[in-house]
């Protein structure tokens, strides 16, 4: 073996890419799905398919405010999300340790909509940023993996620097499997390099205090020195409750809402948060490019304006801009789809890299335990994870809608199927038939994905079936597309 720059970088790319890739495939797949977390939550609440959007009335807001205050007096850390074009309904939510769950209300009458209890798309959000492993260790692992991605991208660029333009034009899908995988890996890597670097970099900076706990604090560009407590994607905090917290709100919310709209603009208020006798009318994340959580604070008892909180300067806005770039809550639907496709391509590119790693080492190390373990883990993240995601959707429609701890059962089905796929992968890999393991999981995914549309049609109201493309059909068709792709891969794997 010679020792030159390309070989050293190749070794670095190979090992950092493989170890980090096992986590990054999960992060990218879950992140892509989390882009449509609101839409997935709506798909997973089929009762909402009968609901027709209506504008929010003051009376409805006040009534929902009273309900939220009652819940808070019973000890729930409730807050209100206001209707948006993506989710045109009022929700009272609380954090259950992993997801924001709660009840839905019609924005015109405050009449409750009986929806099933589900974590919805937020499972993928949690999986994306902390691997469902808690805010400390889970976040830290994804942080380290993000740095690993930056190292792998850097080393990959050095390896292919001489032929970077020819690689852009080179894709031989019908050449040998190694060649085809390598071409696809390089092509996707080069084309989506800016996206992947941007996502890894902004993602790492957003959660930086997890990796550097000694430097935690007000780094996100959020105004004030305290972290918001019940915001849509922040962590659960255990602040001591006071009597002021527990007292039902005396002041109606509608005047506060209108006052906040006068300051921040019509249609910009997305969250109503309650904290220590104060009500915060907070700007929706989708209201501007930078997520700054500007808000107006009111007294909960008499509704007087206490203060207006905005990001004071450019430095404070910088953190919000990074969040805006990463989460793209401000973006129109086409851009969201572009992010989704880029994320999936990134995930496929990394999966290709994992497969290439195994191909390279198979000849020399095929019989070794560590190689079999690596193969098992690769199968588990490349085909097992999509299978688990699909099982989550199936479980949502098949489990009784009024069963207790329903959202927890759905999550257990998700992890149960994933564990099953790991066991299946280990069985196939350690018995020397790993290709069959991949093949069977691909086939299973294809079969259940193609059957999702009939399941959807059978388990929800068909009133709006001919009303054009809605969120239900969009999810069904996307899953059918992915299922078709899995079937094609299955056919390709089946050929000798």
């Amino acid at each position: 073996m010679r020792d030159n720059l390309r070989i050293r970088m190749g070794w670095l790319h190979e090992w950092v890419g493989f170890v980090g890739g096992l986590i990054l495939v999960i992060t990218f797949t879950a992140g892509s799905l989390a882009l449509f977390d609101t839409e997935l939550t709506r798909w997973m609440q089929p009762e909402l398919s009968r609901y027709t959007p209506a504008p929010m009335t003051d009376q409805a807001l006040n009534e929902v405010g009273t309900l939220a205050a009652e819940m808070r007096s019973e000890g729930a850390n409730a807050f209100i999300t206001l209707p948006t074009p993506r989710d045109p309904i009022i929700r009272i939510q609380h954090f259950d340790g992993h997801a924001f769950v709660g009840s839905a209300y019609r924005p015109d009458t405050a009449f409750p909509v009986a929806t099933r209890q589900t974590g919805g798309g937020q499972l993928f959000f949690d999986l994306h940023h902390s691997l469902y492993y808690g805010p400390f260790w889970g976040n830290m692992l994804t942080e380290i993996a993000a740095i690993g991605l930056l190292v792998a991208v850097g080393s990959g660029v050095v390896i292919h620097f001489r032929s970077i333009f020819t690689d852009l034009l080179l894709f031989r899908p019908f050449a040998s499997k190694t060649r085809a995988f390598m071409d696809a890996h390089i092509l996707a890597g080069i084309l989506f390099l800016p996206f992947m670097v941007m996502m890894a970099y902004t993602g790492a900076v957003i959660h930086a205090p997890r990796l550097f706990p000694m430097f935690g604090g007000n780094h996100h560009g959020r105004p004030g020195h305290e972290r918001p407590q019940q915001t849509a994607h922040s962590q659960h905090t255990h602040t001591p409750r006071t009597e002021a917290d527990d007292a039902p709100a005396a002041a109606p919310l509608a005047p506060m809402f209108h006052q906040a709209e006068d300051v921040f603009g019509t249609g910009t208020i997305g969250l109503v948060l309650f904290d220590h006798g104060k009500v915060s009318m907070t700007k929706a994340d989708s209201a501007s490019f930078a997520i700054t959580r500007d808000h107006l604070e009111f007294s909960e008892t008499d509704g007087t304006l206490l203060k207006t909180v905005r990001a004071p300067d450019t430095l404070h806005r910088l953190g919000g801009t990074l969040r805006g770039l990463h989460f793209i809550r401000w973006a129109p639907l086409p851009l969201r789809w572009l992010y989704f496709l880029s994320g999936l391509v990134g995930s496929a590119m990394m999966s290709g890299g994992l497969v290439l790693f195994l191909m390279k080492h198979r000849n020399q190390k095929a019989g070794r335990f560590d190689f079999r373990l690596a193969e098992t883990l690769t199968i588990a993240v490349t085909t097992g994870l999509p299978l688990a995601c699909l099982a989550y959707l199936w479980a949502n429609r098949l489990i009784w809608s009024d069963i207790q701890f329903r959202s927890g059962i759905e999550v257990r089905v998700f992890f149960g199927v994933w564990a099953f796929s790991v066991a299946h992968a280990a069985w196939r890999s350690f018995s020397g038939r790993s290709k069959q393991g991949w093949n069977e999981q691909c086939f299973l995914f294809a079969a259940f994905a193609l059957a999702l549309l009939p399941l959807d049609l059978l388990t929800r109201s068909m009133n709006s079936f001919f009303n054009g493309l809605d969120v239900y059909k969009a999810v069904d068709l996307t899953v059918i597309g992915l299922g078709t792709l899995a079937f094609l891969i299955h056919r390709r794997l089946a050929t000798p």
Binding site: D3, F212, H219, D313
Partner: protein, 101 residues
């Protein structure tokens, strides 16, 4: 079975590179902490976000720079001494943090 010279050499390279990766990761973390301390000391809490941006650009950069150096000297021995020298980097960073604080 006898292993070829190339195989054994490959093994030795892998050991050196693994050590380099581990030390590089440690060094980059310590240096990032140094950078963040500087930002907090000379700037404000709000400046930390710029510090994080610099730290996350620096960390992969350091690992890549470390892998730019050859692991073999002219007469063929792996550079164990240069790896030991590398351990000075985190020490310097820790001293700089201590100095700043």
């Amino acid at each position: 079975m006898r292993k070829s010279i190339s195989y054994k050499k490959g093994d030795s390279f892998a050991r050196v590179w693994t050590l380099r990766l581990i030390l590089g990761a440690g060094a980059s973390y310590a240096l990032a902490m140094g950078v963040l301390s500087l930002f907090r000391h000379f700037g404000s809490e709000a400046m930390l976000v710029v510090g994080f941006l610099c730290a996350f650009a620096l960390m992969p950069g350091i690992v890549l720079v470390l892998f730019c150096f050859p692991s073999q000297r002219a007469h063929g021995r792996t550079t164990g001494r240069s790896l030991k020298t590398l351990a000075i980097v985190p020490l310097a960073a820790i001293l700089s943090i201590a100095g700043v604080q």
